[in-house]
């Protein structure tokens, strides 16, 4: 589904990703862990198409198509979803209206009929229940005045609505208390199925107690230096990242 080969990228002339290789197949959950500054968020940004990042080498294909040539909106339409670390507040745009526009543009892109008001509402009700979010929140301006937990829940709600093939959760656990974390993780788990995949970018192992990964990769200094299963995350939690930093690069 997602194939990353020797990806090098940076911002303002500074190289941050120094040759990333990663393969994600349908049904898999990958966790990308690493200390601060290792390039985790940069990887998420490059995959979702943030324009300020420059790719200098390597290739990324998604469902066989060259991802790096696509506009951010086309990546979304192809089925990539980025749950933001810091969801943006947009006064004057309600989540409902914005989601309706997004869904219908995606449907049009895929050659499907746009949803009418009734069908949209039905879909929304169903997904709201799934991620335990209240309608009053969705009628308000997008994320404006939302708590940290509400913002993250709104991200997962949007993910549920858009039914992506590949979800990238960028530090979704940051700023969440344990209850909010559980709700968000439950939402993600309910959305898992054999045909979609998830990449969880996180600093702490905590989230992985709830979203259990098939693979764990440790990113350090712009490279994946260690890969393993969920046991690797537990080991990291026990030993800290220094243990990795002191090991010679294996990738």
């Amino acid at each position: 589904m997602l194939h990353i080969h020797n990806l090098r990228a940076g911002i303002e002339g500074k190289e941050i990703l120094k040759g990333i290789n990663l393969d994600v197949k349908p049904g898999e959950v990958h966790a990308i862990m690493g200390p601060n500054g290792s390039g985790k968020s940069t990887l998420a940004s490059v995959l979702s198409g943030r324009e300020e990042y420059e790719v200098t080498e390597g290739e990324v294909t998604f469902m066989g198509k060259n991802l790096l040539e696509m506009e951010p909106e086309d990546r979304a339409r192809e089925g990539i979803f980025l749950a933001f670390q810091y969801p943006v507040e947009i006064p004057g745009v309600s989540t409902v209206n914005f989601m309706k526009t997004a869904i219908n543009q995606i449907r049009t892109y895929r050659g499907q009929e746009p949803l009418d008001a009734v069908a949209f509402l039905k879909l929304m009700k169903e997904k709201m229940k799934l991620v335990e979010i209240d309608q009053s929140l969705l009628n308000r301006a997008l994320n404006e005045g939302f708590s940290g937990g509400e913002k993250k829940r709104n991200e997962i709600f949007q993910m549920a609505m858009l039914e992506p093939r590949l979800s990238i959760l960028d530090e979704t656990d940051s700023g969440l208390d344990i209850d909010a974390l559980r709700i968000v993780a439950n939402g993600v788990n309910k959305l898992r199925n054999p045909s979609n995949a998830t990449v969880v970018v996180t600093h702490y192992q905590r989230l992985l107690n709830y979203i259990v990964p098939d693979y764990v990769h440790v990113l350090f200094n712009g490279r994946i230096v260690k890969s393993g299963d969920k046991e690797l995350a537990l080991e990291l939690e026990k030993k800290g990242y220094d243990w990795i930093k002191n090991e010679p690069a294996t990738a």
Partner: protein, 412 residues
Amino acid sequence: MTIATANRNLISELESVRPADSKSEPAASKAWERFRQTGLPGQKSEEYKYAPIARQLEKLPALKPAAGDVLLPTPLPQFLSGQTCNYIVFVDGRFSSANLAEKEVKVTTRSMEESSDANDPFEWLNTAFSPALTIITVAEGVSLQHPIAIVYHSSGRGTLVNPRWTLQLLKGSKATVIEMCQPHAYELFQNKKSVIQAEDKSSLEYLILQDGTPAQTEVNHTEVRCAPSSYASCLTLSLNCRFVRNNMKLVVDGSQVEAHLYGLYLPSGDSLIDNHTVVDHRQPESFSNELYKGVMNDRSKGVFNGKIYVRPQAQKTNAFQSNRNILLSENASVNTKPQLEIWADDVKCSHGCTTGQLDEEALFYLRSRGIDKRSAYAMLLHAFVAETFTEMKMAQWKETIDGLVTSRLLKV
């Protein structure tokens, strides 16, 4: 250095085309004298600093009013199509006809008279060139069912039009008013003056729609005078314009007045939209709120100047002002200046102005959900501008206005 091409002598050009009927009018003659002596605001004029009107007029064909009355079909503009209106038509700046849906609206004309406090050269120019004063009256205590629509049609025969009218909302009356040009492509100069007198306990909803006149140069002097316990809400909506200067003056001449001034300007290309507003609190215990927003694209210019006066006797005034702008291009600009002069000591006043760019992070957020760049732009800009018209009560036009604004924003 290039040297400006030979300056046209606009004053003598105008002198030679003064209408005969206004030469014999004392008010018109007096106004002409004042105009002639003062001349047009030049480069050093503080009031027209960012709207180089003299230079703009020099670009136009020779200024002259249309001779006599012109017979012209004057259908309701598309904006109003299918609506019942109290329809008042000006052709080439002259009052032409009234098609009134309600008998409580009266239209009369009488000889020109100058406002005692007229102090802008364009007010004098209007008085000097207007053949007569058109007076619209809404009867006491009447709430009109249909809007008053004042529409300026152009035949293309005159390059200088000077519409002039006064609307009297008698005590306790209630009216919705729209003022607009029938869209046209003529290169002409419209120099309008209008005064609305909102008497005690009257209520006014007022829309000035500036759209569909891509070649027109305009100076509009608009005055709203509020008597005690009156309500006024005005929106100046400037969409498809070339060079527009709006002088909007709101006089709060009574207590318990509630007044709202809204403005939205969306210039693009090389156009300029300049809003100069005055809110003059002359009596105590009234409220005014002013909100102007602009989105400047291409090489266009926006100007906002907001004066608030709170006179010594106007204690317990609440007066608020806000002007916010977004520049979409490096070559677009805006000059904004709040100007508060407060003599009373027990008042609440605030003002604020901002100029910024569109939030790139918000734009990326919308796009990352599958919304194309253009729609995302329009969505964010719409969210920015919408409060200038959603607060208005004009339910019948809100959707149309929203549609006009949205389609305009989709073009940026």
